[in-house]
Assembly symmetry: C2
Homo-oligomer: 337 residues x 2
DNA sequence: TAAAGTAGCGAGAACGTTCCCGGAAACAAC
DNA sequence: GTTGTTTCCGGGAACGTTCTCGCTACTTTA
């Protein structure tokens, strides 16, 4: 069971010098002769020496591990954020330990309880629960946390998110500019901050253009494509039907489009649809989906960079970074060909 | 910089007993009085004790970390495999450290060189390079490796893959059964084993049905959608054009479909298309894509289960598991409506 | 030429845990 | 009352590394 690796003791013995010297030589070169250092480096390479991070972590109590907590990894947004995180982490010699909550708040809770804080230097979190209080204890233990995308409001730390409000505003404004007047909104879970933000952007755009917000045209449910389909079914039971839909994300927008197609509704001319995310699918489907592109990769990069700063400096002042989205106009919002 | 956590020493001191006893009490209950054990457990909970995995790992030289090496995480297949891996790992108390190669063999090489073997109990790998020799050293160090999806042939260890040959055979047979006779194949990088397998399945299905394989109708390039588009451009320069395409994966199939659409070719009636993967997109696009569904989630689960067995038993006999794919018939291969 | 400074190195504790071994106490058996 | 057995607990080494301190030998300064 127990494995045996080359250690600095082996190097020291073979070279007839002390472990202290080997240790110094392998890190900074201070207090060690150039020749000695080169001999150590050569021997280390020859023996294929690999440092034992458990030992280093034990004495330095840092681990070069970063925990990433996400609802899932199978969708475009999160996997792209992760790729951004990975780029920065890899460059800085950090490993990423990925935890998935599967959109279950209970699992998120349990995960944090079980988390071995001593094997983590920091945490990058996109919340599953509507609140972030359970991360307070992590922070108190001196483990920096950076929230991205789904952020909370209770815990004082850095956050990175897209500009949900303005994105939603712009999306809705675009529908209005395209000639639609009866605009519905199919949103995410009502408890989550970004659901509220996007809804607010939608509502304010309506108001600014003198359009009334009809409560029955605003539906909140889950994130999935199926939810999008169900939401449309619900909307289409109403006596007065909308002529456009702003969806909280592309998956729901696509669900909505499928439901509309099934009803024989022409997307674009009859009913306009705008999503949010810019999932690659949105450019492939037919008609292609107008959407707000989220800077997912950037969000991953910036989150990780901020976390590294928190790790490096105990009292790094928390920052809140908001990145703008970008309206991508495609066919699903073209009323007049 | 240095953080302070509750240790078993603190528990021992507060309870007036030795660290050995606390250590025993927190693990198996053998050799420790029930009362003592309960007192320890209570105190540990009260102080919010969390074990230090660096220390445990140092003495036991196991870490409860599994490394996962993949080309990327942003596509459906790999993110789903990862989710399967995560399920098993989480149940068994293992953390996952995810490394991405970005489809760069050099980066894969460098990654393995840098890998701190002492902080890993095992490795789950989908190859980026066409060969697996560089993992030999990892195995020699006593770190079990399990390959999935893109497996190699040199290193003797467990492998988990889908049945590429039969999947490709079935896909091609389906095209023939549907009435297509001039079937082209747009494949992955020629060096990779599964590219060859799928190509062979395609070739054998042609042969079995008495159709000639035309070398100019077989194109090998990368994996991306753009590659699929380019491959079609290349095929459509030929004097005799194919009337069907079997693509090595859905992304290339979709690229091909976009290129065909751009040329005004009707997909289905004029040219049949079959992919491989069953990416969710394939059911959403129009026309929907006929494809071979890969058991991605299952592959993740089984790979991780096998790896855990290798970790538990030094001389666990390597297994090669092949999972069947499943033909999903949709619109893109419907010649006669 | 003596004092002071500096470069380079080694000894040994420390990090938090497990594990091996020895021993005390309690009890049973002769 | 001695011996043996069991139950429970403590001491201390070990894991591989860093880090602090102190020592030697050489160089510089006055």
């Amino acid at each position: 069971m127990r494995r045996q690796f080359i250690t600095i003791k082996d190097i020291a013995r073979e070279l007839g010098i002390s472990v202290s010297t080997v240790s110094r030589a392998l890190r900074d070169a201070y207090d060690v002769n150039r020749e000695t250092r080169e001999k150590v480096l050569a021997k280390a390479a020859e023996l294929h020496y690999k440092p034992n991070f458990n030992a280093i972590g034990l004495v330095q109590s840092n681990t070069h591990n970063i925990g990433v907590v996400m609802p899932g990894i199978t969708n475009y947004y999160f996997s792209t954020v992760f790729t951004g995180i990975e780029e920065v982490a890899y460059e800085n010699g950090y490993n990423l330990i990925l935890f998935l909550t599967n959109d279950s708040p209970e699992r998120e809770q349990r995960l944090i309880q079980d988390l071995s804080l001593s094997s983590l230097d920091g945490l990058l979190v996109s919340l599953t629960s509507p609140e972030d209080r359970h991360y307070g204890q992590v922070l108190e233990n001196g483990i920096p946390v950076v929230f991205f995308d789904r952020v909370g409001g209770d815990v004082r730390t850095s956050k990175v998110m897209q500009d949900d409000y303005n994105g939603a505003f712009e999306a809705t404004q675009h529908l209005i500019d395209s000639g639609y007047r009866h605009i519905a909104h199919i949103g995410g879970p009502a408890g989550l901050a970004f659901s509220r933000q996007r809804r607010q952007g939608y509502a304010d755009a309506l108001e600014k253009n003198g359009l009334a917000l009809r409560e029955e045209w605003v539906v909140h449910s889950g994130f999935s494509q199926e939810c999008g389909q169900q939401d449309v079914e619900q909307l289409w039971k109403l006596p007065v039907k909308p002529d456009a839909i702003f969806a909280v994300n592309d998956r729901k927008a696509i669900g909505a489009m499928l439901a509309l197609k099934a009803r024989g509704v022409q997307i674009g001319p009859e009913v306009g649809v705008v999503g949010f995310t810019n999932d690659p699918v949105s450019g492939i489907i037919s008609p292609s989906l107008t959407t707000i592109a989220e800077p997912a990769f950037e969000i991953g990069k910036i989150s990780c960079e901020l976390l590294l700063k928190h790790i490096a400096r105990k009292h790094f002042e928390p920052k809140a970074v908001t990145l703008p989205g970008k309206l991508i106009i495609r066919e699903s919002s073209r009323k007049h060909p």
